[in-house]
Symmetry: C2
Subunit: 320 residues, 2 copies
């Protein structure tokens, strides 16, 4: 059942011993949502704690600093920024069918919870949590402001993406007024690269090939590169955005070797190139500007197949 923010706040206010679950591979928005809500509930005199199937990366530690880890048997189970119970990861089995309330912003939410408070016009779920906290009448402290600001900025690439609305900026303004350390949070989230990432980035740039009158840029990441740099899969997202950033490039592809020897392709495009259409030819899919597919072939053959498919698309669409 879908409910609105006022109804969600009313239900929460009647509960105690509240467990708040984040999605696995936690990011700034699920953690910001969870800890903002947890801090608000604790300040209201309730027992609440945040749990996540995976380890919380160190860079988010300021969100739970000074927050006492409450021990209790959960009487009310919530999840935040979780579109599907599968995203509870290792906690799915224990809690997947017992979620009383889910607060989320994904249009793809599977409505797996007993009640769902969903606004997918929100760029970050932290916007929805902000509205619930307002309905609860809880004070937004400096610590809560840090959590909400983190959700806003991480889910929007620092207010860069098309999902940002006037509401996103208005809430950010209020969080800054309430003392959120915006510049420091942005420094940690966007200005810090691991040594392994920089090493992989260097190898990626070394591997870059331009094709089709420099309208296609192709980057290759092999298992050897992952070993030599010490980078892992989580570093790939940043790399995959590089080839499309080059002036004049309409399609930027990253082809990376998996441990099983197959190749995974990430394709990012600019209009009018439809990434999903190109990847669809190779059995994959996705969105119009970001899509993917898998190719089971040796590196040179995989590259050739991908390039041939892209060049055919460029020719058919008079883009050469």
């Amino acid at each position: 059942m879908k409910i609105d923010f006022a109804a969600a706040a009313k239900i929460i206010s009647e509960q105690d011993n509240i467990l708040i679950l984040c999605h696995d591979h936690p990011d700034g928005d699920t953690l910001g949502s969870g800890f903002a809500l947890c801090r608000a509930l604790t300040a209201m005199g309730k027992k609440a704690r945040v749990e996540c199937a995976d380890k919380i990366p160190q860079k988010y530690s300021y969100m739970y600093e000074g927050l006492k880890k409450e021990e209790f048997t959960p009487q009310f189970i919530m999840c935040v920024d979780v579109a599907d119970k599968k995203l509870l990861g290792a906690m799915e089995e224990k809690y997947g069918d017992k979620i009383n309330l889910c607060i989320d912003h994904h249009g793809s939410n599977r409505l797996f919870a007993e009640k769902t408070c969903l606004d997918f016009s929100a760029a970050a779920n932290a916007e929805n949590i902000y509205r619930v906290i307002k309905e609860l009448g809880a004070e937004i402290t400096k610590e809560i402001a840090d959590c909400i600001y983190t959700g806003l900025t991480t889910d929007t690439g620092c207010f860069r993406y098309a999902n940002v609305t006037a509401q996103t900026h208005i809430i950010a303004a209020e969080m800054i007024s309430l003392g959120a350390d915006a510049a420091e949070i942005n420094r940690v989230m966007f200005e810090t690269k691991s040594k392994s990432y920089v090493a992989l980035e260097r190898m990626a740039l070394d591997s870059m090939e331009m094709h089709c009158g420099e309208k296609i840029a192709l980057v290759c990441l092999t298992q050897d590169m992952f070993k030599e740099s010490g980078a892992d899969e989580s570093d790939v997202d940043g790399i995959a955005s590089i080839p499309r950033q080059i002036e004049g490039v309409l399609a930027g592809a990253t082809i990376r070797e998996r441990k099983d020897g197959k190749f995974k392709v990430s394709l990012r495009t600019h209009a009018p190139v439809n990434a999903s259409e190109i990847c669809g030819v190779l059995g994959g899919g996705g969105h119009s500007r970001a899509a993917g597919c898998e190719i089971d072939a040796p590196l040179e053959s995989a590259k050739k197949l991908l390039l041939d498919t892209m060049i055919k698309y460029f020719n058919e669409n008079s883009l050469v």
Copy 2:
């Protein structure tokens, strides 16, 4: 004489044939300020035009699209985002001592104009222009919103820096509500790198050395690299920010060869390392987290001198 926004608007409203000057090497904030104001004045039935000593980069062309270049003899001369008449560049001689009104946000403004409307709490001068346009009672069209949003986002690194205030976000929210193409502007300003920049970036990463337990990162840019990549001085700023971004690095230095063979050092640091103090030892200076100096010596000697100075600082401050 310093005047406030209401006074600035009153003076402007009484004028016609208004010339608006931007600073040389124009950026998104001076151009956004200039074209937003020009469009507002034109809509009020006045003749106005924007001029700049240097060519306006193509990526800003949307700001003046559809704006008629008015021909007239200026009766009132303004400048926007210009802290010193020297920054008028080639236009200083003609107009430097004839500026009737300057609207600016730099604390360092030299008050060279007849009247100056200055608010240095504004992260971008576009915030001040927004306030003047509001005082003028002019409508903020979609085109003006694009100009003001451009100023906001470019002068704040997309709302990332410490200069951002609640006001910056509140004005951004209004510009988005009024139709500003925020995501597209951010894509052009922040997601696009020239081929020459990417080539120089690759060479910079290849040249990177780590010292002092990986707390110092050093990048070298030689004239050969500029020649091979096709990059120029304007590409250096982006490169200079790379070494400090690496996790654990407290001081990131970029040493680049000038055409005359001398070396220019850009030093960026994290607390507690004082960049200005280190560069001061070498005859340079700057801010605590960003400073520079020049070294007149062959590359290897210049590197050694810089590294020795940095390591001495690290030792003296128990940072090793």
